[in-house]
Subunit: 204 residues, 2 copies
């Protein structure tokens, strides 16, 4: 059965392809980020997309022309979804909306430093994301009350990272409104990824 | 003679290597960004670094662990300098400082959307960059008075993008305190990059 889990494949190419083949029909999507793309090249997107939906997470944060160029390369390469930052402004979101299938905008992040500059503007970023036609926002499982708030103000789907090694809980994220929960090491480092996934989803 | 110019190599791999071999000893550095790295792979850093200093500009904006992992890959791959965002907070800057030779922090950007969320916090970001030991900040030639202000509050070197296609001027950026000016298409799209560089630097 497909779960609400998005598996973050921040592992070697070999491990990523292996995990994707094992979990392909049990998770919502696979998140592919910088560490894997820099090592394996853009071709990894196609390899993973043969097993399931791919969300490319480079947290794009450049000027509109460059951001759209990156998003376009990722989409052509096989990514169904692309994650960008909202902090860089409305015109960046607009430029990326035009060249992506599914667009997700980071409204708030899971680490401590998010509180320095980003979190005070997160609600405005979430609202702007909705106004510009984004498919969802990213909000942290490490502060589950923020998932609830950011979903409430934007009305958008929420993808939530920060579960496991970073301290957030799957159950708490879902209870607070997360539509999809991003999980990395707890699954990808497990000797038995299927069992690890089941354990997390059942809240044990 | 070496100029204050950093050439942004947002072109094909073949063109990038060609431009680097032509301009290697006339510019301060070459800036290599996403579009080129995604297309050509990390190996491009080494190819360009044989001709001159390489600054990798992925505008890293992830959580501390992931940001440092990316910065570390870029440094190992041949980049002398790495550009990261500052709006993601102090802990991200600190984590990247440990794994880079030269670290540059984006304080403000050249596009319109920078004014939405980033620019109101740019001065604080610039000061934080200095406190965390960054080697410089990035501030836009499209708003040259901001170069002056951000340099004044931080005391750091300023790298300034936005000259040429985006509307900023080399002369105005330098007069307002830019230590290095980032130029892309005006040079890389020219039939005669040497002449284009000379024309820009002489303010003609």
């Amino acid at each position: 059965m497909q779960s609400r889990v998005i598996v973050a494949l921040d592992v070697s190419e070999e491990r990523a392809v292996n995990i994707a083949s094992i979990l392909g029909n049990q998770v919502y999507a696979f998140k592919v980020g910088y560490p894997l793309i820099l090592g394996a090249g853009l071709g990894i997107l196609n390899k993973i997309s043969s097993q399931g939906k791919v969300i490319a997470d480079l947290k794009i944060a450049d000027i509109p022309e460059v951001s759209a160029s990156i998003a376009s390369q990722l989409t052509s390469g096989g990514a169904s979804g692309v994650i960008i930052h909202g902090f860089t402004g409305r015109d960046v979101v607009r430029s990326c909306r035009k060249v992506t299938k599914e667009l997700y905008v980071v409204a708030e992040m899971s680490h401590q430093g998010s509180l320095d500059f980003l979190s005070p503007r997160s609600e405005e970023i979430a609202i702007m994301a909705r106004e510009e036609g984004a498919d969802g926002i990213v909000a942290p499982a490490t502060r589950p009350e923020r998932i609830r708030k950011l979903k409430e103000v934007s009305g958008l789907k929420v993808l939530s990272p920060g579960v496991g090694a970073q301290g957030g809980s799957y159950t708490s994220a879902v209870e607070n409104g997360a539509d999809y929960v991003i999980i990395g090491r707890s699954i990808t480092m497990s000797d038995n990824p299927v069992e690890a996934l089941e354990r997390i989803v059942s809240g044990k």
